[in-house]
């Protein structure tokens, strides 16, 4: 059974149709990529799933529950984590605070923050340990007290990854996670995603321009052009398809394979 199902999604802004009848399903514990030219609506699909945008029509189902009428925070609490194209870290806060901001704790409630019973304290301590562990793995362990704005771009991206993981999501929506990373970091990130899928039962949906990455890790790929899913299949099938479209429409419609 698919963990995420997008059914006939329509989205329009003031007459401009951004998405048309977008449908696809994502199997649990898989890695799915959305590819397509700039402006095809890939990020909009993410925005609809994480409920930052309200779809004009269509449904989104996650783990057997319809989620397109929920609020963004409720969607997140169901277990959908979202990483943006820019790291969008909280610049003025420390690295540890940034990472911890992804954890949803009892101590976020004013009453528990004030009273701090044993359960609250334990949960808080455990979250700190867990988040510290994630930061260590991402190579940010030594910088947890530094202000996030002092990090390099790649570090900021890892930090936003850590922040996302702190919420213990079951589905990760990653918007171009490899942009601005060097080859070593990309390899590391790929390995990391595979590990998450295998060891932690996490499902990953990627928006990605780097075709090498897409080919390496995707179980399934959907090609979006002008707001429509024009092809779905394995990575290799889609690559062929994309080449055809490129030949037909000209290369400005398809991102370079880099």
């Amino acid at each position: 059974m698919p963990i995420l199902e997008v059914k006939s999604l329509d989205l329009s802004f003031g007459g401009l149709r951004v998405l048309q009848q977008v449908s696809f399903a994502v199997e649990a514990r898989s890695i799915t990529s959305l590819v397509g030219p700039n402006g095809a609506g890939k990020t909009s699909v993410f925005n609809v799933i994480s409920r930052l945008l309200r779809p004009s029509a269509g449904e989104v189902w996650f783990d057997g529950e319809r989620i397109d009428a929920l609020r963004a925070d409720e969607v997140a609490r169901r277990g959908i984590g979202r990483m943006f194209q820019d790291p969008r870290i909280f610049a003025g806060m420390t690295v540890l605070e940034n990472a911890l901001s992804g954890a949803r704790l009892r101590a976020n409630h004013p009453w528990h923050a004030l009273v701090r019973d044993r359960r609250t304290r334990r949960e808080w301590r455990e979250a700190e340990e867990r988040v510290s562990g994630i930061l260590d793995e991402l190579g940010l362990g030594g910088k947890r007290g530094e202000r996030a704005e002092s990090l390099s771009f790649a570090e900021q991206r890892f930090l936003s990854f850590a922040r996302c993981l702190a919420g213990e999501p079951r589905l990760l929506l990653l918007d171009e996670p490899t942009v601005g990373l060097d080859a070593r970091s990309i390899d590391w990130l790929i390995a990391r995603m595979r590990h998450l899928v295998a060891a932690r039962d996490i499902t990953v949906v990627l928006v990605e321009h780097n075709m090498d990455v897409v080919l390496t890790i995707s179980d399934r790929v959907h090609l979006l052009v002008q707001g429509e899913v024009v092809a779905s299949g394995s990575a290799a099938e889609i690559r062929q398809h994309a080449k055809m479209i490129e030949a037909y429409l000209g290369d400005r419609y398809v991102a370079a394979d880099s």
């Binding site: 003031g14 930052l52 309200r54 194209q85 820019d86």
Partner: protein, 293 residues
């Protein structure tokens, strides 16, 4: 019945002055993303300039008005170059800019008070000639207010859609990140926007000074009123500011109709709140759930 009609008419004439302020505020807010409270200081600056030119230097209106507009535009440019640009260069965002803007408003109000005293200075005494439309009355100045506001607005719209600089301003308002990519000189455009916004404020200042006179604190409430008008009209759509300003002017008057006028302020703002509760995006604003990344 004529009472109600007169109230609406009063509101429209007051709305004209708000409109000039609100459109100036909106164009600065849209393009530079500064919550430009110092707009009130520009208004008062222009009013004192106009007062000095007419009452002290004895210039005619034909000379005094253009000079006032030019001086106000220059003042606006100086605010941009002396305060906003350096703040942006130091990494200030919207909050920092707004506080600095508020600080500048406070600074100016008090400097004006020290120079000119807190008394109302006036260049003209007595009432203006009136036209009677049945039971209704209106003055030539107030007709002029509304005509000037609409003409200035139409000219501004034409400038924004037709000219190269105007399109640059709109591009900056739509997408500040992309604008430099397509070859728009952000910093120069900011200065231009401040000049235009301040010129609009100076027209309001001329009308207010001619009608009522000038006082150091005159800018404080009116800048908030015009910002409220922008909120009523809806963010990011210039005609919205115009409509919002007229609507706010009329609302202020209608708040007294059939009600005790001591509640005028309370009723006016309660009505604005009810409106914002029902329509937080304003009359013409798009509901944007995602900020531009």
């Amino acid at each position: 019945m004529s009472e109600l009609a007169q109230l609406v008419l009063n509101g429209l004439t007051n709305g004209a002055v708000y409109a000039l302020m609100a459109v100036g505020f909106a164009i600065v807010f849209n393009a530079t993303h500064v919550f430009h409270l110092a707009h009130g200081a520009v208004l008062t600056f222009a009013a004192y300039c106009f007062y000095l030119l007419v009452a002290v230097a004895g210039l005619g209106l034909l000379l005094a008005v253009p000079i006032t507009v030019a001086l106000a535009a220059l003042f606006g440019c100086l605010i941009e170059l002396g305060i906003y640009a350096p703040l942006r260069a130091r990494g200030a965002g919207s909050a920092g800019l707004m506080i600095a803007s508020l600080g500048f408003l406070a600074l100016c109000q008090n400097v004006y008070a020290i120079i000119f005293s807190t008394d109302v200075l006036t260049i003209r005494s007595g009432g203006l000639a009136i036209f009677r439309l049945g039971a209704l009355t209106v003055t030539s100045l107030h007709i002029a207010d509304a005509v000037v506001a609409v003409i200035v607005f139409l000219a501004l719209q034409a400038f924004l859609t037709r000219s190269r600089h105007g399109r640059a301003i709109r591009a900056l308002a739509d997408n500040p990140q992309l604008a430099p990519v397509i070859g728009i000189e952000t910093r120069r455009t900011y200065v231009l926007v401040m000049a235009i916004g301040s010129a609009l404020a100076s027209v309001a200042a001329v009308l207010l000074t001619w009608d009522l006179g000038v006082q150091p604190t005159m800018g404080f409430l009116i800048v908030f009123f015009s910002a409220v008008a922008v909120a009523i009209g809806g963010h990011g759509y210039l005609p919205g500011a115009l409509v919002g300003a007229f609507a706010f002017g009329v609302l202020q008057q209608l708040a007294t109709w059939q009600l005790d006028s001591r509640w005028q302020g309370g009723v006016t703002f309660a009505a604005v709140l009810v409106f914002l509760a029902l329509r937080p995006q304003g009359l013409f604003g798009a509901r944007l759930n995602v900020r531009k990344a």
